[in-house]
Structure formats: C-alpha cells, structure tokens
C-alpha cells in the first residue's frame, strides 16, 4: 500500500494557467484509516484515504452509501461516534496535525475555524431552543461576544443567508420554519465565526429539488465571497458538479479517483467512476431502453484490501485486479486514480446495456379504453366533526380535483415535491384510502366501492412497489412466505406448484431462487426492492404503482431496478404509475408525465412535451433546478423559487405563492384555466399559452427533437 500520500507531495501539482507557487493545502488528509468495532468484528470505513483542499477550494467527496464519505467528514471534526476509531493517518489543518491536538483544543477549533453543516436540517436544530440562540452559541463560545452583540450578529448572518425577516426567524423555534429556512439557519451558524473550512455533509439531500437548488446557489456564493474552503460530502454527482472545483471519489472506504470536477465527471478514469456517471438517468440523454448499470452490491471491508475492491463488479476486471490491491496512481496535475488499467481504459466508456431497440411509443398509446380513470379526485385529511366546537376542523386538502387516465401498458410519471399529494393519488388509485370526492375506475369498475364490498380479486390486479424496501417486508417472514401468500389467496392449492412459481418470480427479478428461504434483513436494499417487485408481480397485476420505488437506492442500484421495471413492463404489458420527486427518473421511464403541485395537476403530457416549452412555471423551475453533469451542456440560469411551503386548498392557483411569474391577484383568487396543446398536453396557468411558449428551453439539447 505505497500510495498517494507518499507519492503526491513528491510531485508538486502545477496549475496549468498560472505558475504561481501552489498555496499550501488548508486541509491535507493523509493515510487516514478508520474502523468501526463492535462485538461481531471490525469494519473498515476508510482505508488509507488521502486528499487535499486548497484555500478557497470546494472539494466534493462522493460515493455511494457505505463508501465511508461521512465517516471521513466526522473524523475531521473529531465527532466519530458509535465505536468509530481513527487507526492511523494524519489530518493536517493549516499545517497542524489535528490528531495530535487534545480534545479541548480540537473542540476549540470546531465551530470556530472548522464549521459544519449536516444532512438533515429537520433534526440538526435543537427543538427546545430558539434558532437565534443556537446561531449565537458559537459566537459567544469562541468569539467572546456578549449575548447582545451575538444577537445583532445573528440578524446579520440570517440576512446573509437570504432570510428576509431575520428578527422573526431568530426568535422562532426550529419546527416553525420550513426545511429550507432551517438549513439556511444551520449555514448561518456555520458562518458565524468566519471559519476557514466548511464541512458540508450532504447538506441538501433531505430537501426538495427547488429548495436544494437555492441552497446550493447560496453555498456556492458564500464560498466564493468568503473565500471559504469546503469539504462537500455528497452522493449526488450533479450537485458536486455545480459547486465543487475538485472531486474525490470513494468506493469501499478507498479513494478510487481524484481530480478536477469537470474532468472526473466528463472523462472518468476509474471504472467505478465511469459506471457511476453512466448509471445516472439524464433528461438530455434521450430515451434509452436500459440504463447502464453496475452489477452487484457495494463492497464493505473488514481489513486491509487484498485486491481491487471494485474488481467483483468491474466489467474490465482481469486476474491481476483480483490478486493484488491497487495503488493510487497520481499524475502531474494531482489527478489520481486507483486502477492500474486506467490509462488503457481511457476513452473506453462503461458498457452500454441498451439493446438499442427504442421502445415503440405507439405501443403505449393503446386505442382501447384506459385501464385507470381518475375523475375529479379529492382527498381531505384530518377533518374532525367533534362535539367540542374548538376541535372542529375542516381538514387539510391533500388532493384537489385531480383527473387523469392511465392507458394499458402505459407508464405515467407523477412528479412533485413533498406535500404535493402525489403519494395520496397513488394510494387512492389502489383503494388504500377512500377519496373524499370523485371516483377511481379500474378497468371500468369503481375500485373503491368494489373493495369496500369485499371484491379482493379486482384489487389484486393493482399493486404497489414501495419506497422503503425494508419496511415493506414483514421482518418475521421469509421472502418465500411473503410471495407465497398472494398465490394462496389466488386459490392455488398445490404447494409444490406455488414454490415453483415463487422461484420463477425470483429468477424473473434477477435473484437466485434460493432467496426464498431468506429473511428480509439478510438482503441488501437493492435485493429487497427486487423482492418487493416480485411480490407485487405474484398477484399477476395489470397495474403497478411505484411510489418513489428507486429514490432510496444508490445510483448504481437504481439503474438496475429501473431497467428491471422497464423489462417487466415490456414483457408483461404492465401499466405503471411512477411516483417520484426526481424528474430525471421520470423522463427516463415514463410515457406521460403529470406535474403535481399542492394537490393539483399543473401540467400533464407526453414526457417529451413536458420537457420542452411551453412550460408551466413550476415545471420550468423544477427542470431548471435539476443538477446535471458537465457533459449535459451549458447550464441555463436557474429559476430559484421561494422556500415557502406550498399551501394547497385555497381558491386560486396552488403555486401562486411561490410563482416567479405570478400575474397578480388573479392567480390567488381564481383557479387557473387549463390550456391544451397537441398530444394531450395540458397546462393549468393564468398565463396565456403563447406567452408560456416564448420561454427558452431549459434543456436546449432537447429543443430540436420532435415530440413523441
């Protein structure tokens, strides 16, 4: 393991443009090895990790779950918990090895010169203290501010992170703020003592896309204006591309590649990086039948690696890869890659699995009656008719007057942010929740009523694939048992025959049939999601609702599952309602897209139409917020929405409160008219269609293509 840490300083990196002496790195991590120990043994979360961040530079640390990226961030902060231990290595901050400092000395650095923002703003703020007080704390602690001085500084900080009414926010408790506001407050906290280094651990992952876009924008601006260095931990390549100058790719606790963001993301050198970039669904990529994907599951190490960690999943692997660990190869520019074949593989793309047979969209546009018809669906939650007057409540409108259809063999995508009502629509379609008004016809029959009358056969024809693959399987039943029941209910009495069917289904979703004897916790996330799909198929359905079915999965696994779903659709003629917050995923798989906001449909149409102008203002904002890779072309100016939470249920347009193109009172007071264009494209907006059509395309690359 003679690797980068020794090699790299030997060849001082030289920037191509200027020959000015390279400033010493602000943060220089060398040979960092971290392990977690528990009763069952040790797990190596990071092995011999090294990277450097120069002053003013934002470095992305990317990898899938379990790659060790957050562990490294926590090790820098000295906040490893739960049995984590730094085994060896140096963490040089401004030339000082942090590991040699005492705990109080490191604490004194934290929040002062090294500040952090964590993933989940909803849980990172103390619910019992006002936001202002929490922001003021480090100021008082590290800078010796008086509470009064600190309070004044808090207002400035809040203004700086884009909060309009800092006084109110400072006095508020965290739960009174939206997620975006909370994350801004956390950023303000981090900025308070004017740190040199920011540790950003997935700072936007928990947020909606439009909010994420605003926060990233803010972070980029702040890093720029304060000349901040930052370690940006993320799994999202698009966001890394947007904010980081350099990027370090982790796999199985090892750095597999490091280099300037543009280069790494456009011309990845390590096979893993290639796969990662290739597997990302992309709006601009055109419709492909299959996404390139990385087989297998993420590696976890329990000791020093004995071979290339990626070899078991690598399409380019050969015997040499499996017999010895890989060393970091560093070039003159400081780029590194942990693959001895990197040079040989330069220019060779990740294998594309696409058979090249573009799906015939006509197949998805059947002439016969639609399979599912949703008519004026309305759902109100939490209405209360108590005898106690102060308990009476009108309830919250989750879905407001939604109508659409799903054709046979068609994939309809539903895109929206959290709280948009998209999941409620899905549940109503499966008769899991009773509509407050309106009807859901399934194959011509009123599904809700039939189910209420006990018609389980009709219900079995509509199934659901869940987001949380862990919770969707009964932990006390084997995979086989879980899949056996639907068959029993379908009246298949022969146990042996059922067993075969289960085995067949498992094979069908790409799992060994021996998995029938396993319990859910013995499977990986991707495997569980396959089991979920297999179970949904066991009732032989016509229609499957996929509710954020791939959102919780890592990119490489997500591509696998998307491919599987596409195959099944083609083979079995399934219809999908594909619910997601990720418009890129929808654009990949859906024939038609519904864009929902605040319980209403703002735009509906064939995927190709929705991705092109004319846009509903919300669709436009959503598209512009999608982070993308460099190769996807020049970014257009983003449309940044307010953080304000949507307020459905009013008289006017649900989006009016956040709409950047709001016309005026009419938007608040009247429901928007529906503009119809060709191919069943509908836009609900007060702005005339012609005006909407004037907007430039968010993805110019798509503009020329003919709509499907």
């Amino acid at each position: 393991m003679m690797t980068a840490p020794q090699a790299r300083p030997a060849v001082p990196p030289v920037t191509a443009a200027a020959s000015a002496p390279e400033p010493a790195p602000l943060l220089d991590v060398r040979g960092l090895t971290i392990s977690y120990g528990n009763a069952r043994g040790t797990l190596r979360a990071a092995s011999d990790v090294g990277f450097a961040i120069r002053p003013g530079e934002v470095m992305g640390l990317v990898g899938e779950s379990g790659s060790g990226k957050s562990t490294i961030a926590m090790a820098i902060l000295d906040l490893l918990g739960g049995g984590g231990r730094v085994e060896s290595g140096e963490i040089l901050f401004d030339g000082t090895d942090l590991r040699r400092l005492s705990a109080p000395e490191r604490r004194a650095l934290r929040g002062d010169r090294i500040a952090a923002v964590f993933q989940d703003p909803f849980t990172s703020l103390n619910p019992a203290l006002t936001v202002g007080r929490q922001i003021a704390e480090p100021l008082i602690q590290h800078k010796g501010f008086s509470p009064r001085q600190a309070a004044a500084r808090v207002q400035d900080l809040l203004s700086e992170v884009g909060i309009r009414d800092p006084r109110r926010v400072a006095a508020a408790y965290p739960h009174e703020l939206s997620g975006g506001m909370q994350q801004r407050a956390l950023i303000a906290t981090a900025l308070g003592c004017e740190p040199k280094l920011l540790i950003l651990d997935e700072p936007t992952t928990a947020l909606d896309v439009t909010v994420e876009a605003r926060i990233i924008d803010l972070l980029a601006k702040l890093c720029d204006s304060h000349r901040l260095s930052a370690l940006f931990v993320s799994h999202n390549l698009g966001i890394v591309n947007r904010i980081c100058q350099t990027v370090t790719v982790l796999y199985g606790g090892l750095v597999v590649e490091t280099g300037p963001t543009g280069r790494v993301l456009s011309r990845p050198a390590h096979p893993y990086s290639k796969g990662l970039v290739a597997a990302l669904p992309r709006i601009t990529a055109g419709r492909r039948h299959r996404l390139p994907s990385i087989p297998g599951t993420v590696a976890k190490l329990s000791g020093p690696p004995a071979a290339c960690v990626f070899a078991p999943r690598c399409p380019f692997a050969e015997e040499a890869c499996r017999s010895r660990p890989q060393a970091m190869l560093t070039d003159a520019a400081g780029d590194g890659v942990r693959c001895w074949k990197a040079d040989a593989l330069a220019g060779i793309p990740w294998p594309d699995e696409d058979a090249g047979i573009a799906r015939d969209p006509k197949k998805a546009q059947p002439r016969s009656a639609p399979l599912v018809e949703v008519d004026h669906l309305r759902k109100i939650y939490g209405a209360n008719r108590s005898i106690l007057p102060w308990l009476r409540r009108a309830g919250t409108v989750a879905v407001e007057d939604v109508s659409f259809t799903v054709g046979r063999g068609e994939v309809v995508g539903v895109v929206g942010e959290s709280g948009s009502g998209k999941s409620t629509i899905g549940r109503a379609l499966l008769a899991l929740t009773e509509p407050s008004a309106g009807t859901v016809l399934f194959d011509g029959a009123d599904l809700t009523r039939r189910v209420r009358q006990g018609d389980q056969d009709l219900r079995r024809r509509a199934q659901l694939v869940f987001q949380n693959s862990a919770a969707s399987l009964n932990p006390r039943k084997t995979v086989g048992d879980a899949m056996d029941r639907p068959l029993v209910l379908a009246g298949r009495a022969d146990a042996e025959e059922r067993r075969k069917t289960v085995a067949g289904l498992l094979t069908r979703v790409g799992l060994p049939s021996a998995y029938a004897d396993r319990y859910p916790h013995e499977l990986s996330g991707g495997e569980r999601q396959r089991v979920n799909i297999a179970r949904a198929l066991a009732t032989d359905p016509d229609f499957v609702v996929c509710d954020e079915a791939v959102s919780a999965l890592d990119v490489s696994v997500q591509a696998n599952i998307l491919n599987l779903l596409a195959e099944l659709r083609d083979e079995m003629g399934l219809s999908y309602l594909f619910i997601t917050h990720d418009i890129a995923v929808v654009s990949h798989i859906a024939d038609r897209v519904l864009v929902v906001y605040g319980g209403t449909i703002c735009e509906e149409g064939p995927t190709g139409r929705v991705l092109r102008p004319p846009y509903h203002p919300y669709t436009e904002a959503l598209l512009s917020a999608v982070p993308r890779l460099a190769e996807d072309g020049q970014e257009t100016p983003r449309i940044l929405l307010e953080d304000a939470a949507p307020t459905p249920g009013g008289q006017g347009c649900a989006f009016a409160a956040r709409c950047p193109r709001k016309l005026g009172a009419v938007c608040d007071e009247q429901a928007p008219p529906v503009h119809r264009t060709d191919d069943g494209h509908r836009i609900a907006c007060h702005i005339p269609l012609a005006t909407l059509a004037e907007r430039a395309a968010v993805f110019p690359e798509l503009a020329g293509d003919a709509p499907h």
Binding site: M1, M2, A39, T297, A299, K300, L301, S302, G303, P304, P305, A306, A307, C308, V309, A311, P312, R322, S323, R324, P325, L430, L432, Q456, D457, R459, R460, A462, Q463, L464, F466, N468, A471, S472, L473, N474, P475, R476, K477, A482, R485, P486, L489, R518, Y519, H521, E522, L523, S524, E527, R535, A536, A538, T539
Partner: protein, 291 residues
C-alpha cells in the same frame, strides 16, 4: 503489502446468513438467578426441610443456625422452608396476573388499533377510566368487594394492568398499520383476521414479551403489597409479602423472618428484570439472529 503473505481475496462481506443469536449477558444472569427460584416454585414443598406450617413452640424466634438455616418465626416455623414453599405463591401471583392482563389486553388492543373508529374509541376511553385509578387503589377496590383470597388478588392485579397492555398493543398495532407490509397484505386482498394474526401479532409479541417481563415484576411487587395489607394471600400461606407483613412486629428481635423472604423477593425481581433486559436485547431487530 510487499511481504510474501499469500494473497487472499478481498474480504468482501456477503449478505449475512442466519446466525446463532449471541445470548445477552443479562439474560444469562437473569436465568441463573431465576433457576433456583423456579425449582423452589415447582418442588418447594418437597425440598423444604420442614413443613411450611409446622409450629414448634419450643423453638420459636430462633436465630439462623444449623437446625434452622434462616431461623424460625413466632410460631417456631422454619423460615427457610416457608420461603421456599412461598416461592410458588409469589411467582404465580406475578405470572398469572400478567397472563391475565395479556389475555384480556392484547385482543382489546389489537381491535382498538386495527378497527379504530367508534369501537376503538370506546375501548380506549374505557381504559382511560380504568387508568384513572391509581393501581393499588384499583386493586384494593376490587378486593374490597369480596373476601380476600389470593386468586382474587391475581384477578385484581390482572385488571390493574389491562389498560397498560391495551395501550401498548394498540400503539404497536397502529405503528404496524402504517407499515408497508401491512399495506401489501391489504393489497393482495387479505382479510382482517389474517392481517391481525399473521402479520401484526408476530411483530407484537417481542415488545410484549419485554413488557410482560416487567409487568411480572410489578405484579409480584403489587401482589406482595396487597398481601402485605392483608388483601392477597391468606395465612398460614407463606407468600413472601404476607411473610414480611407478619414479620413486622418481630423485626427487631428476629429480623431474619422478614429478611429471608425479602431477599428471595429481591432475587426474583432482579432476575426477572435482567431477563427482561436480556430479552429486549435479544429481540432487538438489530440483533440479526432473532426470529
């Protein structure tokens, strides 16, 4: 890795197969403490050196010694024998009362959680009323209605703990009802009975088992308290609570009468507590060995 060690394949962890559960220490210690008590509960009257109720005026209030290991009480009865024989009474009190509360509480909780609506509301309001009585008071109230007897104390304690069991069962049921595998069961057309008994119940029993072990402790203590104030086991029974109560006047001249059953009680309570802690650890979903 420049040395000549043979190259091994990367120790990539595979999805774990079923492993033998590693038994928590507290579980083992708990069982070790309880084992002799269980033996005493079953075979107490056979292993006891003297009949529990045999009086001997010549040897009353004898201190512990070779003849009477833990001394004698005011009737000259052997305290050790009495404590041994009393094990059954005291443990049965806790276990039977807990069983009773589970028997009544679990179905009610399941119904309240699964059905919800008016039935669920009615059940929960009834439990609210029941819970509004302080526990020992409810026990006293129930016992005051009839002549005291041990089985009545068991029923009383059982009733006292029904609301807690109902609440817990309902809470878990409600939580499970939100689980996606229940949704999946509904989607494949399962009826309520199947969902309750095959999907929900197997997931309820681990937390219930932990809860039950704690309930047993409370029930034993409450039973002892009731016996103490004369509303539980009746003399000449050697129920521990009753023994301690009867020993009160002699506590100064003959503390052993109270101490022996006191220590037995403590052993039982600590044992069951440890057992509960161990059970909790064992049944924790994070402990992958458990199913």
């Amino acid at each position: 890795m420049t040395d000549a060690t043979p190259v091994r394949p990367a120790p990539v962890q595979l999805a774990p197969r079923r492993r033998l559960p590693s038994l928590p220490v507290s579980l083992i210690v708990g069982l070790v403490l309880l084992a002799p008590l269980l033996v005493a509960a079953v075979a107490g009257s056979w292993i006891a050196p003297y009949p529990y109720d045999e009086m001997n005026i010549m040897s009353r209030l004898q201190p512990p010694g070779a003849e009477f290991w833990f001394g004698t009480d005011e009737f000259g009865r052997d305290v050790f024998s009495r404590t041994l024989v009393g094990t059954g009474s005291s443990l049965v009190m806790g276990v039977a009362a807990t069983a009773l509360s589970l028997l009544a509480g679990v179905p009610l909780g399941l119904i309240a959680g699964y059905k919800g609506g008016r039935i669920g509301e009615a059940i929960m309001r009834a439990m609210d009323v029941l819970m509004s009585f302080p526990p020992i008071l409810l026990g006293i109230l129930v016992l005051a209605v009839t002549q005291p007897a041990q089985w009545k104390a068991i029923v009383a304690i059982g009733i006292v703990y029904v609301p807690q069991v109902v609440r817990l069962t309902r809470a878990i049921t409600l939580e499970l009802m939100q689980e996606e595998f229940i949704t999946a069961a509904r989607l494949r057309g399962e009826n309520a009975a199947y969902i309750l008994f095959h999907e929900i119940l197997p997931n309820i029993w681990p937390p219930l088992a932990v809860e039950a072990s704690l309930r047993v402790v409370f029930a034993i203590l409450l039973g002892a308290s009731l016996s103490f104030i004369g509303m539980g086991a009746q003399p000449p029974s050697s129920d521990w609570g009753l023994m301690i109560s009867e020993a009160r006047p002699f506590v100064e001249q003959a503390p052993w009468i109270a101490l022996c059953p006191g220590f037995a009680l403590a052993t039982a309570v600590i044992g069951i507590n440890l057992l509960g802690d161990g059970l909790r650890a064992l049944l924790d979903p994070r402990n992958t060995g458990a199913h």
